[in-house]
């Protein structure tokens, strides 16, 4: 182990193992356990909140192991203070990607960053999934650089959960902002990847896929949407999804579709508009319930129900946008995530790792490639859960 800054690291099992770059491999990732590579830096609230999130996830799922990427000395004291030495291996990275860094800069100069190290752990198969709260653009750029796109994928996408009235209570929406545009074949790829993610993350066997548009009639919308309509309609059988046609913004929270497909510009605007609206509604409700003595009393009586509601729709519980279309899975946590949010992102990462999602997704996308399509279709028919 090189460059150790903290001389106390020689200690035994109860303190944290520290690895450096590719040379080092600690016990966890050799044991067959699920290992999550966590970027300790880059979130709005600094590494202590991220390590709190790791602690929370570890308490819920003690079998998980973690590679924690970031400045060794600082992380070691945080990890030891929480008694996480047995489940966490620290991977030293001296540099931090900031929210204002441009993706191109990070790709050129980010080799020593915790984000780079986090993604590289997946590339080296030291961990199954990476989790980061950092700069989305930089994380996507690094993930594409280090993990490379899956064969057959032109534009990778970010998929998120959206509150829904379907059986799972959530639908999958993509692209939430990996790219600012998407042509018709990209939208078809999103439909395939989104369906596969929906099956694995939400257990919906044959997801209903809708294309987001400004109206539900077949003649509406941009040219690429009309073309994608035909492509998705024809891919239903081999993609193992049901195509429900065009859906509108008002259908996102309805029970019309389990997967909503759109380009990254529109998806990002919709996501943030929905978040903003929900926040405004919450603020106004709070104002109303504290505006008079009677309403305060009323709110106290209804407290339990209101708290249950607030927990149900807590966006932290659905924290985690997943990068789809790469050789490996990366989960992007909200930059402002607190410990509960980080833990939710880690939990999602662990579920995806456990289901072998990366391999299933790769098989699904490969099955839709023009060459060898017949054979792959046969495989897909035998595997209902990829």
């Amino acid at each position: 182990m090189l460059n150790r800054q903290d001389q106390s690291l020689d200690a035994g099992q109860d303190t944290t193992a520290v690895t450096q770059g590719r040379d080092a491999t600690a016990a966890p990732e050799q044991s067959g356990a699920i290992v999550i590579s966590v970027d300790a830096m880059g979130g709005d609230h600094g590494p202590s909140v991220v390590v709190d999130g790791v602690a929370r996830a570890s308490k819920k799922s003690p079998e998980l192991r973690f590679l924690l990427n970031g400045p060794e000395a600082e992380l070691k004291s945080l990890v030891d203070a929480r008694g996480l030495g047995k489940v966490v291996t620290i991977r030293h990275a001296s540099d931090v990607v900031r929210m204002e860094d441009k993706p191109s800069q990070v790709m050129r100069n980010g080799k020593d960053s915790s984000m780079w190290a986090s993604v590289d752990a997946v590339r080296e198969k030291s961990a199954q999934v990476a989790v980061s709260c950092g700069n989305t653009g930089a994380l996507m750029a690094l993930s594409m650089l280090r993990l490379r796109k899956l064969p057959g994928v032109n534009r990778p996408a970010i998929a998120s959960f959206w509150p829904s009235q379907n059986s799972a209570g959530w639908c999958v929406m993509l692209d939430m902002g990996a790219d600012i545009k998407a042509d018709a074949p990209d939208l078809l790829t999103y439909a395939l990847m989104g369906s596969s993610y929906c099956r694995n993350a939400l257990n919906i066997e044959r997801p209903r896929v809708g294309l987001l548009n400004v109206g539900t009639e077949e003649h509406k919308g941009r040219a690429e949407l009309k073309e994608a309509y035909g492509l998705c309609r024809d891919a239903q059988e081999r993609g193992d999804f049901e195509f429900v046609g065009f859906v509108e913004g008002s259908d996102l929270s309805s029970n019309k579709a389990d997967v909503i497909v759109t380009d990254g510009f529109t998806g990002n605007i919709a996501l943030k508009t929905g978040e903003g609206t929900a926040k405004l509604a919450g603020r106004l409700l709070k104002e109303a319930l504290t505006s008079s003595v009677l309403s305060k009393l009323g709110a106290m009586l209804a407290m339990k129900s209101l708290k249950r509601l607030s927990e149900k729709i807590d966006p932290r519980r659905a924290n985690g946008g997943v990068f789809l279309g790469l050789n490996g899975t990366v989960v992007k946590s909200h930059g402002s995530a607190d410990a509960l949010g980080v833990a939710a992102a880690i939990d999602l990462a662990a579920r995806l790792a456990a289901s072998g999602f990366a391999e299933r997704l790769a098989a699904r996308v490969a099955s839709d490639m023009p060459i060898g399509q017949d054979a792959a279709q046969g495989d897909a028919a035998n595997s209902n859960n990829e």
Copy 2:
């Protein structure tokens, strides 16, 4: 008066005047009063709800006069039953534009429709503003056909109110779906038209204008947005607005901008996403407040505050998308509007008519045209409220 179907129409002042096409002009529109041309048909709930809305608006503003467009016999009984004979003139139109009609069909075959007649009343200056609950695409197509675009406007836009934390409680957002795309000069025109509308409808003297994008950094987003950024920045002085740069979906309900500029595809998705999210929040809150005896009791105590909240954010009160960029003003009411919603749309129309908005907007757009720009700028400087 031709083609009268109802022989009782010869009666005196207390029954409704009926006009037919261009030949007829009844008293109201010659008196200098504000006359609103109302499409009685095409809403989801039929003409009786529209006439209820007229009655409500008339009660609030007895000085208003109305041209009611639709099938004479049916409308006459509705108008007489509500004692509106003195303020309403019926303009016979036998045909109705349905929600599923394509705009191109309506442009070819819609001459006898109530929607066509409603718009033509503005063209002929029998009324200052037209209001319709009908098919948005058809209404925009007819409005463009009959009123024509203002000189200097390439793409007209639909502007709506959006709940905001600014001083007015609402901001203006456009385009909400008149066109599915907009290039950089269109976005600049939207900024100018939206500012003018914001000044006249919301009394914000120097509105803050933001361009909707996926991030606030100058290098983000599509090419036309980056170009529009420069155009808007340079137009602040002559457009009499403050350019605040890029805003995100989460900023719509904040206090960052009074006018949000975007293309009609994105605007439509954002509008419907926001509506859908608000509806979901309301439904979940209702469920929570009826889920137990205690919460029901609490809701009863807080009833007054909750009702005030519900009234405050009632989307019916902000009903009315305004078509900007035409020779005349058209207000599009929500198709599902009830009497309260229709009355709100009429109220908006009346306020715009009273402020001479159509002329102010035309002057503002003309002032930004390349030719004669200097002279027009001088004019604009003298008129702080167009």
